[in-house]
Symmetry: C5
Subunit: 306 residues, 5 copies
């Protein structure tokens, strides 16, 4: 599973863009089929709540903190909104970027209105931005809210964005979240597996899902493995979620990589809510598991540098 | 009725695309006017529920199972979403495909919101995908929810997709489902017959409908025959529905082909919820009835190969 | 009023399309200013209810029945959806057609949702279909629901369709129906007259309205005459409605033609719910009144051929 | 204020269209900065209610009545829907026309749904119609419902229509009506003044508003003068409203012209609900005040011709 | 922080538009990174309420008052709707303008409907207007309502307008307002900081926010400083709000500039509700603080000129 030097090129990537797609794919997977996504779309999704507070390092308040980590740490790619890229990416040209196309705040509750997250930028906006600035924008990201009353609009714009991105040789990542009044249990294993399968049916290369809950039938890891099967040749990265102990994060990652067939993790708060120094080292430890196939102990030993 | 070597070409197929349309039509009907559609849009419609569970063969969890059946079995065409085709169809180039253009999950109930299933891909997306990959994509499929509060949007996009597909010489199949708060009885015979007639009025070549319920006036088969008449020169394929005993499936199919004037069946779960070996044999038995006009006993004898 | 050989050409018909418009107008009015429209949009509007039932001739179940009547009977034009034309019109090339552009089922009640009937095909679709097939498609038809919460969308698409159709030299007919939660009395004389006036303000050549109810001030015929005045140079055809006794139908038609200044009738169920033989003779009797200006007795005598 | 021979050309009229704009402006203002608009959009707005009834002259039932008045009377311009122009304007080529772009009926009450009046025709439709027919279409009219839940859509389409019309050298007139569930008092002076100011902010040349109500602080005329100030260099024409005594109409007009700084009146029912002869004379009396700056007595003397 | 002669050029400004962007940026910041925006969009937002009333100077009723202040006073730029610019800007060509693209009235309460403010003009409208008239239109302004049920539409149109404006070398300013049924406390410090951060994620150059409320943890100024950090390299201008004592206004401004890291103020009512003479002097005092970095006392001394 590890260290394979093979990029699967979906059939909606035209012949003349195959090489570009493979190059983009290899860049963010570091020539494996694995992916460590540094997820940084929180300034729209959660406003200032993830960047300022009692348990958050004060450096996180400054948006440039995200780019410093991406630039000095070791990641696959940093995913953030195109508008933020327009203001910082040129100053950090050594980073691989995934341009996130949509976003919404959490201000309106599901009880009031089901989640709706329209595309803020088109794939063409990404392409012209990339060409103008010669930046390493390797792909696009888009969120789909399944089970929302706007599900159909989300599916439509995701299918179209994937089709268009593949036509340009860009890698595609779908954030697939069941959410809305109709969703009782967002992390139900069968639901999560189904969500992963929908990303496949939309043609995505990677799907970001939340960790499924354990049930009295399956553990979280077993449920994640079922989801990996349901996703077929679309690869799963699971959400890191809220900040937890770094060692626990690495253990969970190791387990999921080795026993749940996932391609990696999408981590944000777990990284950027720490100081720059801590963040950098944590990205190195995560990358060691994801890209270098090290033992858990070796990965954890990274943390001792602090 | 059987074995006629005649393709009806609707008048919205332009002269220069007649030969292509006839070729597509003959491919999926195997030079008859009958059709065995291997229906595989469930990963969006039903998430993982049709692929993993107590009564489902474990092979079904892997999306490639669908393509293995289509490739090794004997079918008219496999219908699935364009995104899924982008990830597997090139690996299975010997299969006839129908590109399904829309889809939605069942997560939101009718009580909360009437069904809405926007087009995820355009007919142009299908055409450029087909041309790029030289695959046998013979037509397009689209679902219409009659009686939904979004009925008008569904009728619009179906009429337009049919018009555009015919202009390109593609065969068109409409999934015509009465559904929504206004629909008390989805399988009412007069309603089903009306639904079939609407597919005709939209210009479709085939319409997929559910089996009408028997009433104290007519049997299911008689009701289906009335629907076939109401559909005029649009041909009916009926939904196989949930997995049932293979022999019963074949008996029902034989009855409907020979006494209800239908063109064939759209079967999905009845096939792919079995093992690959069983699935392949069942497709052979179904094709024997639909395309080879064999007696029921001969068809059932196929099953003994297992 | 009768037998005038003059076609009024509205000013949104460009100079270079005047002759085509006049030709289309003369074709369906048979060189009078009168119109007998054989209305056949029921397969979408009423599903199978108008085609199969205790009081309906069994031939009506087969969609081709409509085209046989149009081809063998004597009518001004047959109005039906473009999708149905795509499947039968080429087999019946001697018929004048009006392509109906929108339609909806009656499945959702006004109490649940006000009527909404989006265009299913554009005027451009009609034009390219006509040119490809050299069929006699003389005009377009479109339904407007006044007083619906979607009234504005209906008015918009009707105004645009009329403008575009006139630019191509096509005759335009509006089905103008007050309907929705806000409408207490659909057939109120002042409301019907107003509806006719709106068709004029939209620029339509003909407007199809329902017979206004009699009040204690005016008879139905007098009310219809007021509506004819309110419609100005847009000509009224009234709806035949449900099947009634053929002799009564002719008497009412004669009365409305001669005392209510209408241009003719739009009849559907009154014709196609009979056998082909009866239908043909009835169309001849209707045409005798509308186009040949015969006495009522002469028209009724036609019926004796049966 | 009177008789100034100066047309203000807004800056969104391009240089090459300045002369056309000035010509259009001078045509309807008769080389003053005043305007007598003969408002004739009622067939859509009020259906038949303004054209047929106990207090209405029977000539009003016939739509051509409107054009006869415009042609034989003395007005600045006649405003009506483009569809109606397509059916009569060519027969009355000596009239100045304002093409009204949107309209809705009063059938749905505000309690049921806030007013929504989409554009039925585009500015481009007006321009191509004008060019095809060489008619004197000097401008466009559009209604905005402030305070409606669809206010934003109305503001958008008005701003766009004004921008496009000015690009073509057409004069623009906004019907600015506060209306909807949120509006307690449509004719509140501060609200009316604000409405006039919004027309200015949209870039309109003229704004049609209703007479503000008198309060215990200001008379109607004083309130109208405040609105005129708030409108800046957008000129106000006030609505004539329901038919009143001709002498009262003239007195009110004289007062508003001379003490409220308005540019004129938009009168419809007050004119067309009378006989052709009376209508013509009344238009002459109104024009005498608006365009010829006569004394009230002189204007009223006109009425004695009857 | 002050007097730096450096314009940050975001990466979505193409190379060939860099010089134009820098010129526009320097024009409104007067070669600093500070901005005094004379905010004049109130005629749409608040109708006549801000221009006529007991505490408002009577000159404010006349729209030209706004342009006289902008022309004779000392400001960075005047922000107002494109329609108003079309009617006055050419007469005041020495003013720097920001074209405001959207607007809505306050007539519909949040309880009835969440705020919705569609674009009334496109960036292309601004560009062609600017080119036609050779006016100093240095940028565009757009309002976003966070937490509204139409938040997604607002974010979309803001992201697109910013992208397009930057492509043309125009500076972009977002009015970022949390508002709607879901917003309990519009001026909550963490919410305001988050709002500023969203402007950054959209790619805006400046964001206009309201003063955050003081809490028992932070003062208003401290809260504003946190927001400035959260906004990264997007610069904050805070809303002047309702008219207050001029000296208090200057004190607050001085405090916010020197201790909250803001770039300046967006003031409207505080200026235009005074007489022309007073307004002019106040703009000079504000500019002295913002652009000339004078002591508070020096700035206040300006007021003594009256």
């Amino acid at each position: 599973m590890h260290n394979e030097n093979h990029a699967f090129v979906p059939a909606d990537v035209p012949e003349k863009k195959r090489d570009i797609f493979i190059k983009n794919y290899h860049a963010i997977t570091r020539n494996t089929n694995h992916l460590f996504l540094f997820s940084c779309d929180h300034k729209i999704e959660h406003l200032n709540n993830d960047f300022y507070g009692a348990t958050i390092n004060s450096q996180a308040l400054h948006p440039e903190h995200l780019f410093r980590i991406a630039s000095q740490g070791t990641i696959g790619a940093m995913a953030t909104h195109l508008g933020l890229l327009a203001r910082y990416a040129k100053q950090y040209p050594n980073v691989n970027y995934i341009a996130k196309l949509n976003g919404r705040t959490h201000l309106v509750s599901c009880e009031q209105q089901d989640p709706k997250s329209l595309l803020l930028w088109t794939v063409d906006d990404v392409i012209s931005f990339k060409e103008e600035n010669k930046l390493m924008i390797n792909g696009i990201g888009i969120t789909v809210y399944l089970g929302s009353e706007y599900e159909s609009e989300h599916l439509f714009q995701a299918a179209q964005a994937i089709t268009q991105a593949h036509k340009a040789g860009l890698v595609t990542i779908v954030w697939m979240y069941p959410r809305g009044k109709a969703i009782c249990q967002e992390n139900n294993p069968q639901l999560i597996a189904g969500a992963a399968g929908i990303a496949l049916s939309l043609g995505a290369d990677f799907v970001k899902i939340k960790m499924p809950d354990a049930t009295n039938m399956v553990s979280s890891t077993q449920a994640l493995k079922i989801a990996s099967a349901a996703a077929g040749n679309t690869k799963i990265i699971y959400s890191g979620g809220e900040m937890i102990n770094a060692q626990d994060l690495l253990s969970q990652l190791y387990e999921n990589i080795h026993h749940a067939d996932v391609a990696g993790i999408a981590a944000g708060r777990n990284i950027f809510q720490r100081s720059l120094a801590e963040s950098i080292i944590l990205t190195q430890a995560i990358s060691a598991i994801i890209y270098d196939n090290v033992d858990l102990k070796v990965a954890i030993a990274h943390l001792n540098q602090l």
